[in-house]
Amino acid sequence: MNNSALFIVTVALVGGALRVSTPFMFVALGECLTEKSGRVNLGLEGTLVLGAMAGYAISYRSGSPWLGVLGAGCAGSVLGAMHGYICKLPRVNDIAVGIAMMLFGTGVAFFFGKPYIQPSAPRLDSFSLGAWTGNQEIATALQINPLLIVGIVVGLLMAWAFANTRWGLIVRMTGDSAASARAMGVSVDLVRFLCTTAGGFLAGVGGAFLSLYYPGSWNQGLSSGQGLMAVALVIFARWNPIRCVIAALLFGAAGAIGPALQSIGITQGYYFFNAAPYILTLLIMIASAGSKRAARDVPGELSITK
């Protein structure tokens, strides 16, 4: 591989990281918040799909993509609230509810989304990080969407809030020991309900990014496991919002390997590269699940690693 090809691939990888990573980032941050409070929501894949559909439909109807983003978040928080409410009933397993919510969210999205497969909705605008270079290729590759910035800011805010605010402390305490939270007079169910709802909101916004920016249309194959992979990334990021953001960026770059190699003419194994993100996630899970550091950082009440 000569220098110019290497350059193209590098630009494509960075561009891919900037373009593809946003939904991973939002879902991972949402799941991070939920898991910090001691509950697992595996249904975020369904939330992502419903958010994508709702965002697209609202943007099409209202003409405003940002209204679509808000609507997607609200749709996601409805699913999150359902999950949060059901899991607070005694004897209900949060992982099984997550699977049910995944099927339910996808079903509802496909049901109401059918009329929106054809029409074209207004998209979110983007701006370029690479405009100053004067190089057209770089400028195009480094197009970024404001939602990416929002995601990074949310990640930083969450990390700050966990460490420095009373609410952050309450969430962490609820996640580490429900008994001590109760002893402090905190309603464990309420905290987890709110965290799951807020997590659903973030995942819904991530879905809106899929349908309103990249790939930028609504269809039934829009999300194939991104929500699930993001949930797995949280374990890898060891429940730290900043590491969630970094993991999402790395993951976006990894997802761009296939198209990047295609752009310099390596088309062999296109379908293998389709499988690459899943294989990578599985390898990441294998590497991080058994690690001592993960065992140290895991919220004590979490059922996902037991």
Partner: protein, 375 residues
């Protein structure tokens, strides 16, 4: 299994209270009544949903009845679709008994069907007798399915990898893996319409059960469900599985080989789903292609949960959902509802069913005085 029989004897003493027949009958009634109640509540909620959309719920349920169970043709169609559902539900039930929530039946079905279609290619061109070919195909499908889910079980035990996420990831990997070959090196170039493997040919297809239009997969599913039910309830292996599922640490303390049991359960589960894939290829499609990804694996999860992971109860529940799936096309045409209607109904059923878990032990009628509280 003789090496685990001795500690089991000791474990059995603590479970003696379950021997009381009247307790078991009352508790059994609870396990039937609460899922039925959940189904009824789902029906009401779904009717409200349809009414809100301006559709008639009565028409909907009439169409499910007609499209799924009304005529001889629709009953056969339903049974045809129940066969993969029984097998994929078994793929959920067995790991569930040992405490694992595996949702990768769809992936095992796809790779199992793909493996069956691939081993068939040299056998068909070599004119090997059909019966032998089918046996080899079924074995290949089951073996690959067993390895596929067995890996998930191994990762769970050896590395603590969450089996639910891992098994779903394996599904995506399996589908991408099949597409890689089907659109690449193993593609049948004489079929330009849809990327597929070479067809196995009519002479090599699995036949129908005499007098019906239903393939032998249904019988295979029912027989396997009965066998697995016996395995779970009447053998030392099944007992060990139930002990390990109830309390893995106690099982380890008793000297049960928990890791081995987990991997074996997952492997049997994968073999069931792989067999479903074999029947989809050898009885329906005739080749491996994207049609294998039909959602049977996901419906199977719901079937198993509704049957409370009981292999025998899976049979009627699978037939019920086979009927609902089979009536989907009719509902789409007659009522102008999208094909995802069935998905919404399934999702709603699943959610309500899991909510109903909280009702166990709440009704006095199922409680027997003096019996210990269910945990």
């Amino acid at each position: 299994m003789t090496d685990i029989a001795e500690p089991l004897g000791r474990a059995a003493i603590s479970l003696g209270q379950w021997g009381d027949l009247s307790v078991r009958l009352r508790r059994g009634a609870e396990y039937i009544a609460i899922p039925l109640l959940a189904l009824a509540i789902t029906g009401v909620l779904f009717s409200i949903f349809l009414l809100a959309l301006g559709k008639s719920p009565i028409e909907f349920f009439q169409l499910v009845d007609r499209g799924g169970f009304g005529t001889a043709f629709s009953v056969q169609n339903t049974l045809q679709r129940s066969s993969p559902l029984i097998l994929t539900a078994l793929a959920v039930a067995l790991p569930a008994r040992i405490g694992l929530i595996i949702i990768g039946g769809e992936g095992a079905l796809v790779v199992g069907g793909f493996a069956a279609a691939v081993v068939a290619i040299p056998l068909v061109t070599g004119n090997v007798p059909p019966l032998l070919t089918l046996c080899v195909m079924a074995a290949a499908g089951m073996l690959v399915g067993a390895v596929w889910i067995g890996i998930v079980g191994y990762l769970r035990y050896a590395r603590g990898v969450n089996e639910t996420i891992a098994s779903l990831l394996m599904t995506y990997i399996g589908i991408a893996f099949m597409n890689f070959f089907v659109e690449g090196s193993l593609r049948d170039l004489t079929n330009p319409n849809k990327p597929s493997t070479m067809p196995i040919g009519d002479a090599y297809m699995v036949g129908k059960i005499p007098g019906t239009d239903v393939h032998w997969g249904l019988i295979a599913g029912i027989v396997l469900a009965i066998l697995l039910s016996i395995l779970l309830s009447r053998t030392t292996f099944g007992f060990a599985v139930r002990v390990a599922g109830g309390n893995p640490r106690a099982a380890l303390a008793q000297g049960l080989p928990v890791g081995k049991l987990i991997v074996i359960c997952c492997a049997i589960a994968g073999a069931c789903a792989g067999l479903a894939g074999f029947f989809e290829v050898a009885a329906i499609q005739g080749r491996a292609n994207a049609s294998l990804v039909a959602g049977y694996g996901f419906t199977g999860i719901l079937v198993s949960f509704l049957a409370r992971h009981n292999p025998l109860a899976i049979i009627p529940v699978a037939i019920l959902f086979g009927g609902i799936v089979a009536s989907g096309g009719l509902i789409e045409r007659r009522m102008g509802l999208p094909d995802a209607t069935v998905l919404v109904l399934q999702g709603l059923t699943f959610v309500v069913l899991l909510m109903s878990e909280t009702l166990y032990g709440r009704f006095k009628i199922f409680q027997v005085r003096g019996a210990t509280e269910r945990t």
